[in-house]
């Protein structure tokens, strides 16, 4: 937007409130805060999501691979890709929205999420492995 924005008739007599309102009315037609969405973008996102959802369900429900470990990793990979598709096509996230602050907040959150998840699983798995073993029989007799 290199064109200067002309304020419709904001004369010197206008007080602060009136000028604020004028800017608001002016701003809503092409508000930079609200991303411009397209039908094509939504449909690409939707179709990709359908495919990326259907494949993992098919892999698990149809028992395509005999190795559950391999299926787990493939299913997780599909989830990551689908989350990226949603971010790009539905949440309209890019590096320039809000001057990059959206992306920065997201990266910070991802760092925290990874620390929370991997840290919890790692620590608690090893805690579990080092605890006294308990059989299902013992479990049933727990108070």
């Amino acid at each position: 937007m290199s064109e200067p924005h002309v304020h419709g008739g904001a004369g010197g007599a206008h007080d602060q409130d009136a000028r604020f309102d004028a800017r608001h009315v002016h701003g809503h037609a092409h508000d930079p805060n609200i991303p411009h969405a397209t039908f094509r973008g939504y449909m690409i996102g939707f179709l990709l999501s359908v495919v990326l959802t259907a494949i993992p369900f098919w892999l698990v429900m149809g028992k395509v691979f005999h190795n559950p470990q391999a299926t787990t990793w493939i299913v997780l990979a599909f989830a990551v890709v689908q989350i990226l598709v949603h971010m790009a096509y539905f949440l309209h996230l890019n590096t320039s929205s809000e001057g990059g602050w959206n992306m920065l907040a997201l990266i910070f959150t991802i760092v925290l999420v990874v620390i929370t998840l991997s840290g919890s699983l790692w620590v608690m798995y090893h805690m579990n492995a080092n605890m006294m073993p308990m059989s299902a029989q013992d479990m049933r007799n727990m108070p």
Binding site: M1, V6, F39, P56, V75, F90, L91, L117, M139
Partner: protein
């Protein structure tokens, strides 16, 4: 705002700079969503830690019906695309079409919540309630929190439909609808994590 007192003969009423964000509503809402993301991360971590502790009770293989989950997932995905259609109608400033797509979105959302509640009721009826084992406690907390978010999203959607019906597609309403759009799509993103981490990986476990 530059006040030119020296050259009073030529007052200029336009901005020479880019628009500054007049209010950081969209950024603020995004930061709220990121904090919500951390809430879900903690719940996912809790499920990851406790998800294998069945206390000799029923496990995911006994309880989860993946075909129901698949229907549920498609409900949420369809509601995402119909909300997208509503956003496109907002751009064209068509009020009735916007209300129509918002209503469709609400119906898909309600179908999702209904299916989930039916699943919960079925599990509790079978004696697999949240108090049965650590696995079930964490399951109900994680999936229930997501369902609660969707329920509040539907409530918000109905409120905004009334607002749009009464006052039209004003700037304030468009801003609110854009926030709800982020919220709605964000819940779909969380659901990807839920159906992968809880349901699919639970059955594989």
């Amino acid at each position: 705002m530059s006040t030119t007192t020296a050259s009073a003969a030529q007052p200029r009423f336009y901005l020479t700079e880019e628009h500054h964000p007049e209010n950081g509503v969209m950024l603020g809402f995004w930061i709220y969503l990121m904090s919500d993301c951390l809430v879900f991360a903690c719940l996912f971590a809790m499920y990851g830690v406790l998800g294998g502790s069945y206390a000799a009770g029923p496990g995911p293989k006994d309880l989860f019906d993946l075909s129901v989950v698949a229907v549920n997932t498609s409900m949420l995905l369809l509601s995402s695309i119909t909300y997208g259609f509503a956003m496109l109608e907002i751009q064209r400033q068509r009020k009735l079409a916007t209300l129509f797509w918002l209503a469709v979105t609400g119906c898909f959302g309600a179908a999702f919540v209904t299916l989930e509640l039916t699943e919960f009721a079925h599990m509790i009826h079978e004696g697999a309630g949240p108090q049965r084992s650590a696995f079930l406690s964490s399951f109900f907390t994680l999936v229930g929190t997501h369902g609660l978010h969707v329920s509040f999203g539907i409530l918000w959607l109905i409120t905004l439909m009334v607002q749009v019906g009464r006052y039209g597609l004003t700037a304030a309403n468009i801003r609110r609808l854009s926030c709800l759009s982020l919220f709605w799509h964000f819940l779909d993103v969380v659901w990807i994590g839920v159906f992968t981490f809880v349901y699919l990986m639970g059955v594989l476990r």
